[in-house]
Each structure stands twice: as C-alpha cells, then as structure tokens.
C-alpha cells in the first residue's frame, strides 16, 4: 500500500456579502488554492452557530474556517463581532474535546480581497496538514449526531 499525502478536509463558512465575494475575486484572478477548502455560504458570519463548527468536526472536517466582513464593514452592522465573540468562546473549549485550537480559524476577508482569500485558504490548509487528520468522527461516534 502506498502512502498518500494527507489532504485535510476543510470547511469555510463565508458570509454572503464580503467573504463569498472575496472568494469570487480569487476566482476572477485565477488564484489557485487547495481544492480541499470548501465553502458554505451563510448570510452573515453572525449566523454561524458554534454548533455548526462542532458538527463540522464531528462529520469529518479537519479544520473549520469562519470568514466574515472586516470590523465596521458588516452588512448587518455587527454580525462579525458576534462571530468573533463566539469564536473566542469556542476556541479554548476545543481543548476539552482534544481538538487543537488551530483547527478553528476566524478571519476577515472583504469582497475585494481575492488575494487574501487564496492566501488564507493556503495557510490554513498548510497548518491543518501539519496537524494531521482529526478523526474526531471515529472518536466521538455517531450517537451524538443531531438529527437532520
């Protein structure tokens, strides 16, 4: 059996107004970033329930990104600050689940920052690759899944 290079599974929650647009610009500029960073659009980074992040880890994500508008730029005035508060609350708790804090990443990407989007995607991918697989899905099992 040949050893294949570990490619992490990364979910990026992006807000509709800034970061989704930033990813669009990255595309328009044909900036390449790892295909294992996959976007999930929400209207506002403030919509990202910490539970979604935990669910992402539980369902096999090795890393989770939350990207919102820059401070003071939120389309919904202050949703990004709420995202920041929740991030600051959740991140230290990850230790208790044996999840390295670096697996969760929050940043601000504006609708013009294609370069930043691609850079951040690459950097986070690099970081998670070094951390290796999370395998939390196996650890925690299926029984705690929230029915959908």
């Amino acid at each position: 059996m040949t050893e294949t290079k570990f490619e992490p599974n990364i979910v990026a929650f992006v807000c509709n107004w800034c970061s989704y647009g930033g990813a669009d610009i990255a595309g328009s500029m044909r900036l390449k970033y790892p295909a294992n960073v996959k976007l999930l659009r929400v209207m506002c980074s403030g919509r990202v329930d910490p539970e979604f992040i935990m669910e992402a880890f539980r369902r096999g994500a090795d890393g989770v990104m939350v990207l919102g508008c820059h401070p003071k730029d939120c389309h919904y005035i202050e949703g990004n600050y709420k995202a920041l508060k929740r991030f600051n609350m959740l991140r230290p708790l990850l230790d208790q689940f044996n999840i390295e804090q670096d697996r969760l990443y929050l940043d601000w990407v504006s609708a013009s920052e294609g370069e930043k989007f691609a850079r951040v995607a690459k950097e986070v991918n690099e970081r998670i690759t070094q951390l290796g697989p999370l395998n939390w899905k196996e650890v925690i099992g299926q029984h705690q899944s929230r029915e959908v």
Partner: protein, 648 residues
Amino acid sequence: MKEKERLGFFLCECSKNISGTVDVHKIKDELQELPDVVTAQVTNLYCSADGKAEIIESIKKNNLTKVVIGGCSVKQHEHTFMKVLEEAGLNPYLMQLVNIREHVAWVTEDKEKATAKAMALLKAAYNRVQFHGAFEKKEIDANADVLVVGGGLSGCEAALNLAADDRKVYLVETQPSLGGQATKYESSFPDLDCCSCMILPKLQEVVENPNIELLNYSDVEEVVGFFGNFVATINKKAKYVIPDKCIGCNECLDPCPVEVPNEYDDFLGKRKAIHFQVTGATPYIPVIDKENCLRFKGEDCTKCRDACMFEAIDYDDEDEKMEVSVGSVVLATGFETFDPSLIPDFKFSNGTEVYTALQFERLISNTGPTSGKLVKRDGSQPKSLVMVHCVGSRDKRYKNYCSNICCSVLLKMSSQILEEKMAEGIQITHVYRDMTIGSTGMEEMYENLEEEGVKFIKVPNPNDIALNSQNGQVQITLPEKTLNADMVVLAAAMVPNKKADKLIEMLMLSKDEEGFVKPTHRKIDAVSTPVEGVYVVGSASYPKDITHSIIDGSAASGKIAFELKPGKKLEIETLISTIDEDKCSGCKTCISICPYKAIGYDTEKGVSVINEILCRGCGSCVAACPSNAITARLFEDNTILAELGGLL
C-alpha cells in the same frame, strides 16, 4: 406524507470556463444516480436565452420540484435563475445556485480534484434544497407621510423635497422658529454671502407649503411603530400668541418688563419674556416664555396684551398633544457647542472678553445684541483679537474628532471683520494646530488673510494654552510666548445635541463613540440608519456645514421618495427569521442581539416576536437562541447542517 421530491440538476459548461477544469459530464452521470433526481443536464451557457429556455422546459416537462444549478457566483446569476424558476411556475426559492466556476474551476489546478470538489458542492446543494421552502414575497400597507424632527436647514430641505399633494410632511421644531443654528450666522464661508438672504426664502417656503404641517415650538414625545407605520405623539407647547392673528409687528416686545439672557445669542444679549428667536425669524410670530413671564409667576401683568392691536395674545393658551401617523422619520436634531469652561486653564465665564465662536458670530451679526457692531463689553472697539482653533476638539480629554467647520468659520469671521472694516487697525491672530479647510475658496481666503496681516501661530494643541482675563484684557499663554488681546474667540467643538437623546433612544438608534447618531454606513449609506424608515441628516450624525446639511436633507428625501411611494405597498424582505412560540423560553437573548431592533417581547405570551418588516434575515439571533426556537429562512439549522454533510 410529504410528496416525493423531483430534482433537476443543470450543469453549466460556461464555455470552457467550467468544463475546462471540471468534468461536468462525469458529475452529471453520478448525480443522476442520486435518489429523487429526475434529470441532470449539461449545457454550454445556462444564462443565455437558450439555456434559460432549456431549464424552463425541463422544469415543466419533468414536473421538477427542486432545482440545483451548477454555474457561477450567486452574485452574478442567482437573480437570473430565480426569475427562470418563476417563469417556469416554480417558487424562486426552490433553487440553489452552486458556484463551481469562481469557487472551483478558476481556483483549482488539478482537474480531478476540481471535479471532486464540484461534486461535493453539488451534493451539498442536493442535500440542502430538500429543505428549501417556498416563500412568497410579502407586501404591507404603508403610510407615505413623513415626520421630520428638527427645523434646521437639513430638516427643512427634506421637508420641502418630500411635501406633495399625496404626501404630507410634519415638521417638528422645538424652537419657535426655523433655520436652526445657521440663522445665527450673519454670513457664511467661503463667499461671505448673507445667510439670511440664502436661508430665509427657503424657510418661508416651508411656512407657506400647504403640504407641510409646521409644528414649531413643539416636541416629539413618543414614537412607536416601524417602517411604513410609525405613530408619533407631539406636544405643541403653548405659545400664548395666536398665529393667525399676529402680524409680527413687534409692538408687544417693548412693554414687557422682563429681561433675561438671550439663549439665541448664546446668552450674550438680553431678550424679553415675549420674544422672537431672532429678528426676521421664520415664522415671525413671538412666543411668551412661560418660565420668565410675570403672569405665570402670579403677577397680573397684561402689558403685552395691552400693546397688541390684533388681540393676538391669549394667556389661556395651553399645551396641546397630537398624534400623527407617518411611514418614515427624519432625524435632523443638529448640534450644540462644546462648553469651553470644561478646559480649566481657559477660565471661561460669561462676562469676560472671551467668547465662543457662536457668541462672536452673534456679536458681529446685524441681528445680534450689538446690531453688528464689533465692540467689547465696555463699548470700546477692540484693537487686538485672538482666535483659538480646535477648542475641545481633536483631544481625547475632550472630543476626539475634528468638527470640520471651525477653521473655516474663524477665517470667515476674520475676513468679515477686515472686509467690513469693523474695527480700525485691528490685529487678528489665529492660534491653531492644523488648518482644516476643505471647501473651495477657503485656501484663497487663508492666503488673503495672511497678506492682509493676520498672524497664524501654530501650536501643538490649542487646548493646552492658558487664558487669563483681567480688566477687559485677556492674556494668552502659548508654549513659547505670551499674547495680550482685547478679545478672544474660541472655536468650540460641535457636539451632539443632548436634547435629542430621548428621541434617539425611543427610535432605538445607536450612537457612535462620540455620541452622534450612527448611520447605517458612514460612506455608502450615510443618511440611513439601521432602523428601517428612520433617517439621520445634518449635524446629528457628525458636524457638518450648511452645504453638507442640505445635501443630507436632499439625500434622505430622495431615499424616502423612492422607498415610500404614496398609495404603494411596501415589499418586505422575504428571507427573514421567525420564532417558534412553542419553543421560545422568553429569555430575550435575541432581543439584545438584533442589530435592527426587529425583535420585541410579547408580555402576554411570554415570548419574543420578530417584526417581519424590520427583520433583514442576518440570522444572528438564530445562532444565539439557546432554545433553537428561531429559524432563518433558507438558512435553517437543518438546511445548513444538511449542506455541511454534503461537503464533508
């Protein structure tokens, strides 16, 4: 039992833009195998007329209930495909556009990986659309009338633009007359043009406009409701002068035995208990100030009534409350000036030869306490004048910001004094930190003043100088020298109008760190506020000159005219959040979270209630709700989690 879904996938090649990197045909074959997928199709360009027709035909032929389109950004074509669904007779929300161009094909080198990623995104959309509900666009009845609070220039401009036969404007001004602070100025920068000549015709138009109900000398006591449907309670203060009878002849003023400091001259001159705000005030009808009138102190004085030839004085007048229904509110509550006595080393007090710029403006105004004569309190002409910039401004001990207009006002006053030869041989000296003069013509004025001998002394911070008044002279201690002057003028910062605080709170508006009303966005949405239907204009949001105040008034009226059309219903946001009353525990967490104050509390039921007119669907409350009682349309927990499952 829920009927079986009939799903259709439409994969766009976007010429080679997508299919050059993503193997759409391979994806198509795989998707076709998924349960409930009736069709998976590939076309070169789905945004083209032919492409759109293909989708419509397929929806109809295959009786599709849900549609997933693999194509470009939602920013580019979500709207296009929503319309396509509508044309095919399907609710436009039963669709998901997956961005496999910008987010996959254009950013991925490896074709296999790109195809796998596109597949994951499409599967995620397949999962998510199962939860998509059909939402109908909703319209509500809306009142097109407008309440303008504040009769300064920005408020008057908004009122004039909006008043029409089918749109009534209620203009509330707390003072007896219109025009606000600008009426205190004799002339304005940069042209030294006469303020009254500019302003009074506009104010007169307001008074004469049949579609503006002018509620001067009145206060807004309460505002309830929301965009399209506000109800305001207004208290019309008793004026004791019947407007329809008074002709503004002035005869009642002289006989009045009461004299009090005149607040309109910033307490520089005196006025009677029955008084006009300024000579030439609009409307030109006096009011009796109840606080100071002898009658209201129990004395039987009837001197003003005796002097009135028109029986216009009515001592039995009473405050009157009225309710008005409007669709929109314009907040034009203006500014106050910073109190220089807060700077200890200035030893600022009335009675010395140190004046605020506004007091000084009154002093050199024809309608002011000295009828425009530049004289000291002892009646002599000043030989030297020092003007201090940035008083209370740009200093974190006081106000951190620049008030934008003070430098220009001081330069204007200097020009006015020299041009009109108000004081022979006067030496004017400016003590300043930076010359902040933006508008056209000001640089020229500054250069001319320098040529004419006005001195400009730059200091690190004018708030650090010391002023000492003695025998009608003022000693000014600067870092490197000491000046003596007959008069000193302080350009005190423009600060938020404290009297507007109650209203700001009632309208649930936020203030910035300096206390000004926060607009939705300082640059791109500077007259809107996060509370829909409420606009902020003029210096209520930050210090502005006449030009920008009037521009604000126009801007807000344009927005209102566009959004609230008389007789038209108001289309409200479809993708909002809703609360399940059975699950809500009434903890009110969501109420504190909502940036639009769209959530209220039903005390009877003990649950939070979202106002669907105010909600914009950001979903912040959904994430915060500890009972999972709130759902965001199309971004429900289940929908997002289903999508997440597809991605991973």
